[in-house]
């Protein structure tokens, strides 16, 4: 496949690894912000190949992992509504969210217990579902970073345009940059450079990182998700670090521009506004989320189904995912990793999502 296969070329990858190895004089600590990057680094053995050069730690950039438990609990209540009321709700979700534990099991458990849960590939498919089923209330579980927000925003615009009244959004979108800043502010911070998330930047650009780089004096390099993209980004970080520089660079220029995608940003701004949001493992992140703005609030499932009383969230206290998501430990350092906690019986979200750091380590890490 064009624009995939060439960025997986083994010879080029080896060349980049060697270049990194030649550059490195100290074990720099780099954080890949996004779970997609973690996935690419581990699945392709890059992390193993770079042993002894840089240390890669895994950032909070798995929206599945950081979605607040309360949102999942609410989604589950929506999916069960049809069993106790005349509200015949179908909760439509990306496949990614299906296995993430809420207070009482995951959406897959909800489904097994009789909840109406349907996996869709696109939020626009959920609008189609609502169109085909006027007898149902379709609620789309809108999770994801800035990458995904344009698609969910477009979905409500489509619903409004088509006069689809039985469609709404349960919005749990999160914004990456506030979380990155939070990490840098943490007393435990070890991050010396960021590999910024390519597809978030495809939408948002990277101009807004420039003040961060000034303030915290660390390199931020935008990367894609293919091996050469990641390696190029790492090499760039390493060169900056070795030369004592701190710049925002773009190693994914085929898909990302400094200003980002104006059309996408316009759609997002039309529908959403910035808000504070609880992140799993982080607590409330100031400006850490998006919510429907006043013009679109009537598509908000939380107000449409405002008779649902939120149940107390059951926050268990064994897994170390807060540390993992903040890059303070690596998954195998968690005592439960691979023992009490496996992808079949996950204790925490990062073991569930195929982007989650614990799952990526479990699957692909050579011990």
């Amino acid at each position: 496949m064009k624009y995939l296969d060439e960025y997986r070329d083994p010879a080029s990858a080896k060349k980049l690894v060697e270049a990194i190895r030649r550059q490195v004089t100290r074990p720099w600590t780099l954080m890949e912000v996004c779970g997609g990057q973690t996935h690419g680094l581990l699945r392709n053995g890059i992390e193993a190949e770079l042993q002894g050069t840089v240390e890669l730690i895994h950032g909070p950039g798995c929206p599945v992992c950081v979605t607040a438990m309360e949102s999942i609990d609410f989604a589950q209540q929506l999916a069960m509504l049809h069993t106790t009321s005349t509200n015949n709700v179908v909760l439509a979700s990306f496949g990614d969210m299906m296995r993430v534990p809420g207070s009482h099991g995951s959406l897959l458990d909800t489904k097994a217990n009789g909840g109406n849960v349907k996996t869709v590939y696109s939020p626009l498919d959920a609008v189609e579902l609502a169109k085909r089923h006027p007898e149902k209330q379709v609620v789309f579980f809108a999770v994801g970073f800035e990458t995904t927000a344009p698609a969910t925003a477009l979905a409500v615009k489509q619903a409004a345009n088509d006069g689809i009244h039985n469609f709404s959004l349960l919005v749990s979108h999160v914004r990456v940059q506030p979380a990155m800043e939070a990490l840098l502010q943490s007393p435990h911070n070890r991050v010396q450079a960021f590999l910024a998330a390519g597809h978030v930047c495809a939408v948002m650009g990277y101009e807004s990182y420039e003040p961060m780089v000034e303030r915290y004096r660390l390199p931020i390099v935008v990367t894609g998700f293919e091996p050469l993209d990641l390696l190029e980004g790492i090499l760039n970080c390493v060169r900056q670090l070795e030369q004592g520089e701190a710049r925002v660079d773009n190693a994914y220029s085929r898909g990302v521009s400094r200003q980002g995608n104006q059309a996408a940003q316009d759609i997002v701004r039309e529908v959403y506004e910035v808000c504070d949001r609880p992140w799993r493992g982080f607590g409330i992140v100031t400006n850490g989320g998006l919510q429907l703005n006043q013009d679109w609030r009537h598509f908000d499932a939380r107000s449409r189904f405002d008779f649902i009383r939120s149940l107390p969230v059951i926050e268990p206290a064994e897994c170390e995912s807060a540390h993992v998501l903040a890059g303070r430990i690596k998954p195998p350092e968690c005592a439960a990793f691979g023992k009490a906690c496996t992808p079949d019986a996950p204790m925490g979200a990062p073991m569930v999502s195929s982007e989650g750091a614990c799952a990526a380590y479990y699957k692909w890490h050579t011990p």
């Binding site: 943490s186 607590g283 903040a326």
Partner: protein
């Protein structure tokens, strides 16, 4: 600017109170292998199954074979007198036995609905294991599929059995002769009434009980006692005794004439049938068969049958006669043979 708090609350999955079947249990991965190994094979304790290969390898069988298949979709899964587990074993074992075969090997294929409590599956499998043990059939191969919630009704089971045909094999209904005598091996309609009452929540007390059980011993007794005087046997399942009579009439070209008063009916089935407006002769049995024996052999047959507890209420109910205008006749109060209709559709409680 950013007031993120750093206390460590971690998103741990809380287990469901009772573990349930998930779609992942049917997808060929770790969870499925665990379910098969720790629940299914363990309970059934079958060596062939434990190999988890694509096919069981079986030793050579001398002589001709009988092979039969049935899917079991009973709702509810548990009913007074039995459950889908015992039913799926007895059903297939009985089909082999009434065909004149010694039951040998059974396959067991499960279709599980997402959300089925694992405890239910275990209970059903324990029942399978007991019934297989009792009837001496070996479960040699299995399959497990999971379908999404709403795509099945809890649990369906297919069993397929093979057996060795043992001489003399009863020739079958096409060999029926005028004068042959018809015997039913117990009170009729028990299974169908039991399941209907359980399913429709009719709240009858005591709940009518199914006859769900093995016919292996009864068929062996009969074959031993009657030899070639045994014409044919049939477990009177769906459609009840009425359906078997119609099928045999069609196969043999004879009319089958029965007497209503000779047909045994238990008091619970009697009461429930009157209340619901149903006729027990058209209601399913699961451990009761109709047999046809040579003229004059019914006394021996009844003696053999009555020596077993499960067929102690066997009764002669009629005779095969020259073909009449109606294939099956029933004599009620006036001693005048009247047509016995074929059942149509599911028995439904009615008030007319």
């Amino acid at each position: 600017m950013n007031q993120t708090s750093w206390e460590l609350h971690c998103p741990v999955a809380v287990n469901n109170d009772s573990p349930r079947v998930m779609l992942a249990h049917g997808e060929g991965g770790r969870m499925m292998r665990k379910l098969i190994r720790e629940t299914i094979v363990d309970i059934l304790s079958s060596e062939s199954l434990a190999e988890m290969d694509d096919a069981a390898r079986l030793p050579a069988i001398d002589g001709p074979l009988a092979m039969t298949t049935d899917s079991f979709v009973v709702s509810p899964l548990f009913f007074p007198g039995g459950d889908i587990g015992s039913l799926c074993v007895y059903g297939t074992v009985n089909d082999l036995a009434v065909s004149g075969a010694k039951p040998l090997y059974l396959t067991l294929s499960l279709i599980l609905e997402e959300g089925l409590p694992i405890a239910v599956l275990q209970e059903v499998l324990q029942s399978v294991a007991r019934a297989a043990n009792q009837t001496g059939i070996k479960i040699v191969a299995g399959d497990t599929k999971v379908v999404p919630r709403g795509a099945a009704d809890g649990l369906f089971i297919n069993t397929t059995g093979i057996g060795e045909l043992v001489d003399p094999v009863p020739p079958g209904p096409q060999a029926l002769c005028e004068g042959d005598e018809l015997i039913v091996t117990g009170p009729v309609g028990r299974h169908g009434i039991a399941v209907l009452c359980a399913r429709e929540e009719l709240a009858l007390q005591p709940a009518p009980t199914s006859d769900c059980g093995s016919l292996v011993a009864a068929t062996m007794q009969l074959r031993h006692r009657l030899g070639t005087r045994l014409r044919t046997m049939r477990d009177a399942t769906r459609g009840g005794v009425g359906a078997v009579l119609h099928e045999w009439s069609e196969s043999s070209g004879l009319t089958l004439a029965v007497n209503e008063k000779d047909i045994p009916v238990s008091p619970d089935v009697r009461g429930a049938s009157e209340l619901l407006g149903l006729d027990p002769i058209h209601i399913a049995n699961e451990g009761t068969m109709l047999i046809a024996v040579e003229s004059g052999a019914s006394e021996d047959a009844l003696e053999a049958l009555r020596s077993l507890p499960e067929t102690q209420y066997s009764a002669k109910i009629g005779t095969a006669i020259t073909r009449q205008a109606t294939p099956v006749t029933i004599t009620r109060m006036f001693g005048r043979p009247q047509p016995l209709d074929q059942p149509q559709g599911a028995p439904q409680p009615r008030i007319c």
